[in-house]
Symmetry: C2
Subunit: 179 residues, 2 copies
């Protein structure tokens, strides 16, 4: 039995004001040279749903307000905290100084499964890179770990906004997992 769909007003979602005041999951998302504003907006929308601490926009990734971003963000840039830091290395250094672990979402020779983390890995910043070239090597070198979503197809990668969504909803669970 599936019963009735809930209407939006029955879902008890937060108001923008309540969202800003609410405790967040201890997750940051850093975007490095994301080319597509569609992807930036969709990532903001997922960061709303995953109630993350902050989105950090670096390199040539476009920043709000842009109508192309809002087409997929649906307003989320108004209440999800974000900042622009031109050089991702500066942003990472600042996060590390505040005790945040840095995780590349990238397939590497030493990547961990994306669903293998636990509470001790948090607060955590998930880094995603350019749609074609991925995370730059100098940024990757500053990461504490890399996370991989096992894939079974012909292509070597999921869309970046889809992969951020998959990772975020696992990280929510991991941030509460005691091992």
């Amino acid at each position: 039995m599936t019963a009735q769909k809930l209407r939006s007003e029955e879902m008890n979602r937060l108001s923008p004001e309540a969202f800003r005041a609410a405790e967040k999951f201890p997750i940051y998302v850093l975007l490095q040279n994301i080319r597509s504003m569609w992807n930036v907006g969709a990532i903001f929308r997922s960061c709303d749903a995953a109630r993350v601490e902050k989105v950090i926009i670096t390199g040539y990734t476009a920043t709000p307000p842009r109508k192309e971003i809002d087409k997929t963000a649906l307003g989320a840039t108004e209440w999800v905290a974000w900042e622009h830091v031109q050089n991702p290395l500066d942003a990472i250094a600042s996060l590390k100084a505040n005790g945040v672990k840095i995780a590349a979402l990238e397939i590497t020779t030493q990547a961990l499964r994306y669903d293998s983390l636990s509470k001790e890995h948090f607060p955590l910043c998930l880094i995603v890179g350019n749609e074609v070239s991925g995370i730059d090597d100098d940024v990757l070198a500053m990461c504490d770990l890399a996370l991989e979503i096992p894939q079974y197809g012909v292509k070597h990668s999921l869309n970046v906004a889809v992969s951020v969504g998959i990772a975020l909803f696992e990280l929510i669970k991991a941030s509460q997992r005691i091992v």
Copy 2:
């Protein structure tokens, strides 16, 4: 330590021919009135990565080949099996006759957590509906269960392609889970 990124050729992905011949995860994806071809293409790309049995395209959802779909599918429509069935109710009846369970990805009064299934629920067809109105009531009425991704934000829904990605990678795990 994150070490080196893998190059595409180091990832041992399948060729299109090997993909077609390979055993699939026992998962079908049914699209009901998806408006955006960007979303259709991104879902195909995720269905490649998740190695699903088949994508079933219904209602006014656009079918390949369309350049707007391939912009995000990146060729996946060439090797991921798909068919077009105009009326989703016909497709569901046919799936049910073949022992496939039908799961709506939709927030309802009786939805289960998206990560609560196990092997006994498979083969399974995941249904997603229109970006604004969701799954039609007559389609929902034919579903065996509804699955919900718990969300913590202001908006009531993730992007449809992102939510399919999140659900698919959980369903892969569920299809192998013995309880």
